[in-house]
């Protein structure tokens, strides 16, 4: 990103997106308790305790390789699909452990949606088909398909660009459009929690801004957990922030967490201060 573009974004930020205010901490929607994660013999996360209040946005920040993405994938049970994966501790969703033997992971993933770093629309489906794919794949029954398509694509900031070609292949869209399409796809199944793993890392500043607006809008109804490498983005979109760090040879852990304004404005830890000011990581 050039300096000019960057300033553009910051400028737009001030005009377009209202400065994030801390929502009053409501009831907790999700919570990780003493969560540790392994890949084979290697421990990658240790003792993570984070609570995600309902209908807020929480940003997970930290340098590459500190376990943010791994953590977010434990929250909808995608982590277990990796061979050699192991986990200790618990993840509570609406007060119940999602790793309980009686819980069906398919049911969990239906309520806890996810948007990935790389856009992954289904190439064999049309734009419209992609938006509705969640309903078909999960066997969920919702009638007003046209409304869902318009609603979710509008929420993802893509409607105006694709409304005349909903029958085109999803692969014909640009990378940024594809990413907004998969956000719409995730919204169509009406998840209660939306996990976003660096959703804007492949997008241009304008698309990024649209998605950030979308995130702010969604936060009224959905609990959002977003991994980001972009400090400004964390400030712009999140109510709470958790700073992850994996110091030499040790598994990743949470160094500091709290209201975003506190983490960026008045961090308690020297390492947090250094990281949010770009001095390492």
């Amino acid at each position: 990103m050039s300096t000019a573009e960057f300033e553009d974004v910051m400028d737009l930020d001030i005009q377009g997106v209202e400065a994030s205010t801390v929502h009053p901490a409501g009831p907790t929607e999700m919570e990780s308790r003493d969560l540790s994660v392994w890949f084979g013999q290697r421990k990658v996360l240790e003792g993570v305790n984070i609570a995600f209040p309902k209908n807020t946005v929480t940003a997970l920040i930290g340098p590459s390789g500190c376990g943010k993405s791994t953590f977010i994938r434990t929250l909808n049970r995608l982590h277990e699909l990796i061979p050699g994966a192991a986990l200790a501790g618990s993840v509570l969703y609406e007060g119940k452990d999602i790793y309980d033997a009686a819980v069906d992971p398919v049911h969990i993933r239906l309520q806890i949606g996810m948007v990935f770093q790389k856009p992954n629309p289904f190439p064999s489906m049309t734009i419209r088909g992609n938006v509705l794919s969640g309903l078909k794949l999960s066997g969920m029954k919702r009638d007003n398909h046209d409304e869902i398509v318009e609603e979710t694509l509008t929420a993802a900031g893509l409607w105006n660009e694709v409304k005349d070609r909903l029958g085109n292949a999803a692969g014909d869209l640009s990378g940024g459009q594809q990413q907004r399409l998969v956000i719409a796809r995730a919204l169509a199944v009406q998840p209660h929690v939306l996990l976003m793993d660096e959703p804007c890392s492949a997008l241009d500043p304008a698309s990024t801004l649209k998605i950030e607006e979308t995130i702010r809008g969604l936060a009224k109804e959905v609990t959002i957990i977003i991994v980001t490498h972009n400090m400004q983005q964390a400030v712009r979109v999140s109510d709470y922030t958790a700073f992850f760090l994996a110091e030499e040879g040790t598994p990743g852990h949470v160094v500091e967490q709290g209201a975003t304004t506190e983490i960026f404005g008045n961090p308690q830890e020297q390492r947090t201060l250094d990281y949010v000011n770009g001095r390492f990581g």
Partner: protein
């Protein structure tokens, strides 16, 4: 994939574009060196061809190829220095090897046309061999009954082996159960089964025990044994190419594994799976031994897959090609030509079906 047809109007544009391709410009020294390196060996070989009795293949492989290597090596050395020599050796060998492949293919098709074209006619495609003896002139009789037989047998074999083959591939790549190494081993071992063994197997298990006669169905079973490993292994390869992002993406939407495979993974690999089927058909369509044993032979047109022995193009060729009657031999070559054309048509059809794009 977009198909652009050649349009004379664009050739003007092409001419204009040429001047816009600065990387195409070469120094005169380079052009001269390349021209000399191409012309001199060709002249020497042409002179030898006219003046001596050296057979053409030997002339090409033993004299022309080394000469061309040396000439190109010298030309490369003169223009690019020592580091150009290795390049020229690889390029000359690559061109030589690909030419060799093309020549083999063209000569196979060429000899089929030369020997078989005489037999071709509309009635050759539609009539059967009832009342036809080996000495009957080419004005009568045909391979209609064999074509029907081959299509029927291949269809039955596909009906059996394609679903099983894809299911095997899905087990290996998607289910990833504990038996994967064993399944893969057996599929691999199965692809080594000689076709005559497949025929014998069906003959003893199905035909000799009286379950079915020699028939299209029994022939299809023998073909299916041969098709299965090809379909399974190719389908496995193409399913492996489907990015994991799509699988996790579908699972993250609350999809079950079965729905993920059926609605996302297999559709994404559709073209590749059609290729797997094509390769399977190509593997078996010319096999003779299994059909001699399991399907038998017949001069009449048979459409009932279970009732009676049935003719097929490979067995028709086998039965006619060694007869001491020139017309029978011509029929065999004609049938071989038709078989190749049939394969080409089937492949083109499969490609056209497979190309279908998503959306309008």
């Amino acid at each position: 994939m977009s198909t652009t047809t050649f349009n004379p109007a664009t050739s003007v544009q092409l001419e204009q574009q040429k001047s816009m391709r600065p990387w195409r410009k070469k120094p005169t020294k380079f052009t001269m060196a390349v021209t000399l390196a191409v012309v001199i060996p060709a002249l020497i070989v042409a002179a030898l061809y006219l003046t001596s009795d050296i057979p053409v293949p030997i002339l090409l492989v033993v004299i022309y190829l080394p000469l061309q290597l040396i000439a190109s090596g010298i030309a490369a050395w003169a223009t690019k220095g020592t580091r150009g020599v290795a390049d020229s050796v690889i390029i000359v060998n690559a061109i030589g090897a690909s030419l060799f492949t093309v020549i083999v293919l063209v000569s196979v098709i060429g000899s089929l046309i030369v020997r078989g074209f005489r037999a071709l006619s509309p009635h050759f495609l539609f009539q059967n061999s009832v009342y036809i003896s080996p000495s009957t002139p080419l004005d009568y009789g045909g391979i209609g009954h064999s074509l029907v037989g081959t299509l029927l047998i291949v269809f039955i074999a596909s009906l059996i082996s394609v679903p099983i083959g894809i299911a095997t591939a899905v087990y290996i790549t998607e289910v990833r159960g504990r038996a994967v190494p064993y399944v893969r081993f057996f599929v691999q071992a199965m692809s080594g089964v000689p076709s005559v063994v497949a025929g014998l197997f069906i003959l003893t298990i199905v035909v000799a025990t009286g379950v079915f006669n020699q028939s299209a169905f029994a022939g299809g079973l023998a073909y299916a044994i041969l098709m299965l490993p090809t379909v399974a292994r190719t389908a496995e390869e193409v399913l492996k190419l489907v990015p994991d992002d799509l699988r996790t993406g579908a699972l993250a939407l609350g999809s079950t594994r079965a729905r993920t495979v059926l609605r996302v993974v297999i559709p994404a690999a559709r073209t590749g799976i059609i290729t797997a089927v094509i390769l399977g058909v190509a593997r078996v369509i010319g096999e003779t031994a299994p059909l001699l044993l399991a399907a038998g032979n017949n001069d009449q047109t048979v459409v009932n897959p279970f009732g009676s022995p049935i003719s097929s193009v490979p067995t028709y060729i086998f039965n006619n090609v060694a007869l001491p009657y020139p017309d029978a031999v011509s029929r065999a070559w004609g049938a071989a030509l038709v078989l190749i054309i049939l394969v080409a048509i089937l492949f083109t059809l499969a490609r056209v079906i497979g190309r279908g794009r998503v959306g309008r």
